[in-house]
Symmetry: C2
Subunit: 513 residues, 2 copies
């Protein structure tokens, strides 16, 4: 068996059965293996940033890694920005990066690069496989590493001759050690804080704002009066009616300072102490109030979910009824598009089990508040701050959850980084409704510019303007085989979202602002 086939079989063996790919000559044997390993689904992407972002969105929803396939250093380079986002969200992923044949490398051919140097900072596991007989094992160890707490990115670099060599061997994924429980003192410490009567926020890290962990956190919050929070760049939150309410830390520094000033104590569950996204002259970097108690209940490398359970036990809250978000029926709005109105329109039609992918930046600032009482749904956001992950997320989420509607809430500036995702959505027939809020500018940067300098000049403002010429998203979508229309009223926005979701087909709605 060729090395490439042993690689693909080992991936499937390890539960990794979707590959978002943009292959080249040096990955052609991996591609060839797809005809022999039919349980691996190959999803072609026209740009690598689509593949890495889709693998991230997939993992957030599937709770397990997808793999990617990239063409040497430049292919990995194109994937990098969305690998940054995945890295910051502790998302499991297995990257397979092709390389020149081991014996060809020394001639420094044009596409040669130091792939390890490019891969290192986002990879918790990084190995260049050097023999076909080892490739299955290398891949199995990569899968184990991606899945072990804290989950993350594993990268296997595979020279072409290692792929085409005939002594490939399928490997079993090594058993992963369970994430350790944090020391009992940390549970007791958290319990003591929650009993001392001071105002406390519990910050939930990756995977803690969904499933059983969320319900446990809700019981603790209800029993103690603590507030549940996620960082501004959370990975995934299951929310809506019937679930414990969770606040999001604000992006704008002054707002976040005001929000967190209420609390004297912060308990971190796989989350970091909140810091400002950017520094500004005269403003603090750390968002928690000076002198606040910061208590780490569990690190990301520990068993955060069990730590929450132990904390609930210690508080006698295990069987408590958590306070739950009440259902709020939002009436569909009408009239011209406004920022508040578009949030209301989304809230009016967001269906049960929807997956909302939110990279709406300034246009979507009302969305989270407006949708809190909607039927139960999942919400994904950009975690690492590298824009251009929204449309790829939507592709990955739709492949992870083919029976659930995906609503992508995207800004025009961010959307343009990885618009090629629309083609993959069309090709795979994904149930993605992509709403593009088209304010025709990098509006957030105009705000930052105005905050940074008095009287911004016309040449500076012109650099932040993407409306000359206007982007025509209806045409762009059509160019990639996706049905699209433009809406200019809130009633048509709500109606078209509903129609798009019901169609269960890829479609796009441009919303000029």
């Amino acid at each position: 068996m060729k090395g490439a086939e042993s690689l693909v079989r080992t991936l499937v063996n390890g539960g990794v059965d979707v590959c978002f790919m943009n292959p080249g000559t040096s990955e052609i044997h991996f591609v060839d293996a797809l005809d022999r390993v039919r349980d691996m689904r190959g999803v072609p992407c026209l740009f690598e940033g689509v593949a890495s972002g889709a693998a991230d969105g997939y993992a957030r929803m599937a709770g397990k890694p997808a793999c990617t396939l990239f063409h040497l250093g430049p292919g990995l380079g194109n994937a990098m920005a969305n690998l940054h986002n995945a890295f910051r969200a502790w998302v499991p992923m297995v990257n397979v990066v092709g390389d020149h044949a081991t014996y060809h490398r020394r001639y420094d051919p044009p596409l040669a690069a130091d792939i390890e140097m490019l891969a290192r900072q986002y990879s918790k596991f990084l190995r260049t496989s050097v023999a076909s007989a080892d490739l299955g094992r290398d891949c199995a160890e990569a899968i184990a590493a991606a899945n072990a707490a804290p989950t993350g990115i594993a990268t296997v670099i595979v020279p072409t001759d290692v792929q085409w060599g005939e002594d490939g061997r399928v490997a079993d994924v090594p058993k992963i050690a369970e994430a350790p429980m944090p020391d009992g003192a940390r549970v007791d410490g958290a319990a003591a804080l929650l009993r001392n009567g001071r105002r406390t926020a519990i910050l939930l890290g990756p995977r803690m704002a969904e499933g059983d962990a969320l319900m446990t956190a809700g019981r603790i919050a209800t029993a103690t009066g603590a507030t549940l929070m996620v960082p501004f760049g959370f990975a995934r939150a299951t929310r809506g009616a019937g679930l414990p309410p969770v606040e999001r830390v604000a992006y704008v520094v002054d707002q976040a300072l005001k929000q967190l000033r209420e609390y004297e104590q912060f308990i971190l569950v796989g989350a970091d102490q909140p810091v400002a996204f950017f520094a500004y002259p005269g403003k603090p970097s750390v968002l928690t109030p000076e002198g606040a108690v910061i208590h780490i209940l569990a690190e990301r490398s520990e068993n955060c979910a069990d730590a929450l359970t132990a904390l609930a036990d210690a508080l006698g809250a295990t069987n408590a009824q958590p306070r739950l978000q009440q259902a709020q029926k939002t009436a569909a709005p009408s009239g011209p598009i406004t920022i508040d109105g578009l949030a209301t329109a989304v809230a009016a039609v967001l269906p049960e089990r929807a997956i909302a992918v939110d990279e709406s930046i300034t246009s979507g600032r009302g969305l989270i508040a407006a949708t809190k009482g909607c039927p139960q749904h999942d919400w994904l956001v950009n975690t690492g701050g590298s824009i251009g992950v929204g449309l790829p997320f939507a592709v990955g989420a739709a492949i992870a959850c083919p029976d659930r509607p995906v609503l992508s809430l995207e800004s025009d500036g961010s959307g343009m980084y990885t618009l090629q995702a629309l083609w993959t959505a069309a090709r795979e027939g994904l149930a993605v409704t992509a709403v593009i809020f088209a304010n025709r500018s990098y509006a957030i940067l105009k705000g930052e510019l105005s905050a940074a300098v008095e009287n911004p000049g016309p040449r500076a403002l012109d650099m932040l303007d993407i409306g000359r010429p206007d982007l025509d998203w209806v045409a762009l979508a059509k160019g990639m085989g996706v049905n699209a229309r433009r809406v200019t009223t809130l009633e048509s926005l709500a109606r078209e979202i509903q129609r798009g979701i019901e169609s269960a087909e890829p479609n796009l709605i441009e919303v000029p602002l």
Copy 2:
């Protein structure tokens, strides 16, 4: 003066007066400085790979660096693939990458990354500026490094507080040491080889296939019977009627082996010994015949142009009349689109002083041969093999040479990586005619797959097919404000190229194959 202003003034001072940019919050003070430093032209790009590719195309045509402006590690990541191409072409460029404020970095905010690690492999100069007072000097040294032989990429990382600090000082660019002449023995050695009667190829590196260097090389070739060649991934070649003819080393290994088998001696002028782009089982990595003499006349770090002049002197060829390419008038073809026919159509209408940007991969395989007798023009190709550089090249070349027509000859697969370049072409009103050869597949990979395995399977072939759904390039162009049409005959192809070039406006022609 703010550090950012001192940076922009120093750039202009050093002759770097075009900035291809995709800024974010951490670069906002650079953007602000554009209103005070009006000699710097900011060119906004919707994706960083467009900016790095445009800076490359600009430098190839302007003969001097542009700068770029990127947003932290992920912004640089998005630029990476086209930095790879620029690196492989020894193109001068000054990258400015914003970073978090020096004091904010320690809090590891979401967008933090090890930017130096990402920048290192493609940067001959790399410095993180740590004080506003030093920023001008750091930038000046970066410009000097980019321009010193061998020219290349210089990267300055600029934390936000270093930009906003008030003690910026404009700096003068240090004088660059002249590139040294190679040892006289290397000139004498080359002369001896060229006199020994054996068949010799002279391989021309960056900047040697244009201007005076090309004419000198032509005299040497004519006087000695040697053949002038450029590598497959040459950086720029000035060609056409009235110029010395230069062969291009073939891409396909068997073809290259056959082409180079004719020669016993190779003289390298800032070029590398030709090697295969990729390795294949049973095929050699090195393309020159075994036992051939490889003689380095000049390294890229040496003065290659003067070495050629010295060689011509040594051969008594200084005043020789070089053999020149005869003008060949190509009649405009008619009938359905074919690979040969489209090359003829381009040859029939390619005007004098055109800049042809060629990333046409399989569809354009006849272009170079067909256009050899056209009126004098420049030809740019992808040097590092990372596809998606063509449309950005066209943007950069058009800004470098606003009075020359740019004809971008692009494949659909490659074009999709960086299609956002069309918007910048529209915004800047550039004289770019973009021809998209739409074969709706990664055709070169289908060839590679068929060569690698017997009977490729349907699932593998499906991964290399980008025609489900078809990309509609007319709609994509319209979506970015570029006029476009589709042609289905050779006569309309020739006519529309001519019309596009005469319009001196951005336009796109889709050619379904």
